[in-house]
């Protein structure tokens, strides 16, 4: 039997249900507040925690865009796996690059 006739036609509208207007606008508001926090914290003397704060805020912003705007929260779990795989390989690449540079004898700035 033809596969198309064997399976019942799924009739729900293609794609996950759209997030509400409110959740989109709140996400934008949160992103802009985080941007302000990021810029503000960069002006404070926090030593190494400047970099931690900046990258932490960037990661939260990226997660907000991924889950709400890109709808990974409501879409198929398979997409979450593919998206995570991209970032996981990036983490491996940066970790191995750092493992090299951090365990070497320091180089001088090229003159």
């Amino acid at each position: 039997m033809n596969a198309r006739s064997a399976r019942p036609q799924r009739t729900h509208r293609s794609g996950p249900r759209p997030p509400s207007l409110g959740s989109n606008l709140w996400t934008l508001a949160a992103l802009l507040v985080l941007l302000g926090l990021s810029a503000g914290s960069a002006l404070l003397k926090l030593g190494p925690f400047n970099a931690v704060a900046n990258l932490g805020i960037a990661a939260i912003k990226a997660l907000l865009v991924l889950t709400i705007f890109m709808r990974l929260k409501t879409d198929s779990p398979l997409l979450r796996i593919v998206a995570s795989a991209g970032f996981a390989w990036l983490a491996v690449m940066i970790a191995l690059a750092l493992a090299d540079v951090l365990t070497r004898t320091p180089l001088l700035v090229p003159a």
Binding site: R7, S14, L28, L35, A51, A58, V65, A85, G86, P106
Partner: protein, 215 residues
């Protein structure tokens, strides 16, 4: 092609499966884009660990106010395109087209602001190999920072330009009723691309503009 007459190709069971396949393909492409920019970020990390002071000095030459504005513009444009997809899913057309136009306009304003930045850096002698006039102990490290800066922001701007063109095409198609609540996969995939370009910039912003600003 009108959305209502959009046929489901033979290889798919139904429209839902077709959308799932298309979205999976797009996310696979986005994963390769993450790694494309990831190589540049890995290079950046490597050099920043080697020359932390030179990178802080170089970052102070960038325009933090313009960088912050550019970030706000891209975040807002991401929200606009997300709302546009939502509007099409709810059956709207005029507002969806307007939101895509807003997205394209914000993208263009981002590119214009970046153009001003590039011009100011050229005037300041911060363009390696073309017009580089920095002197002093950090001169070589600053040159490396600006090499990475032009590669990262340059490739990002190319992506924004492609995104703006795609937004115009999607706006035109939305206006001509190519999409409706049942079929809007191309619009959805274009929005995903735009969001990824936004995410890349979310990381570019602190790495390029915000180092060594304290004190």
């Amino acid at each position: 092609m009108n959305a209502r007459s959009h046929p489901i190709p033979e290889q798919f069971d139904d429209a839902v499966q077709q959308r799932e396949a298309a979205t999976l393909g797009m996310w696979t492409f986005l994963a390769t884009e993450i790694l494309f920019f990831g190589v540049l970020f890995a290079g950046y990390t490597y050099c920043r660990v080697l020359f932390p002071d030179a990178f802080a000095a170089a970052s102070r030459h960038t325009d933090m106010l313009l960088g912050t504005l550019e970030t706000a513009v891209l975040l807002t444009s991401s929200c606009a395109v997300a709302l546009s997809v939502r509007e099409v899913q709810l059956g709207g057309r005029r507002l969806a087209t307007a939101l895509l136009a807003v997205t394209a306009a914000l993208g263009i304003s981002f590119l214009v602001m970046h153009g001003f930045e590039y011009y100011a850096e050229y005037q300041e002698g911060l363009v390696p190999a073309i017009h580089y006039t920095q002197q002093g102990v950090y001169a070589r490290g600053i040159e490396i920072f600006y090499c990475l800066y032009y590669f990262i922001t340059g490739f990002h701007s190319i992506h924004v330009t492609i995104g703006v063109v795609l937004m115009c095409v999607m706006g035109w198609r939305t206006w001509h009723r190519a999409f409706d609540a049942h079929y809007h996969t191309p619009l959805e995939l274009t929005a995903l691309y735009w969001h990824l370009v936004d995410i890349v910039w979310i990381f570019v912003y602190p790495l390029i503009y915000l180092i060594g600003r304290a004190g």
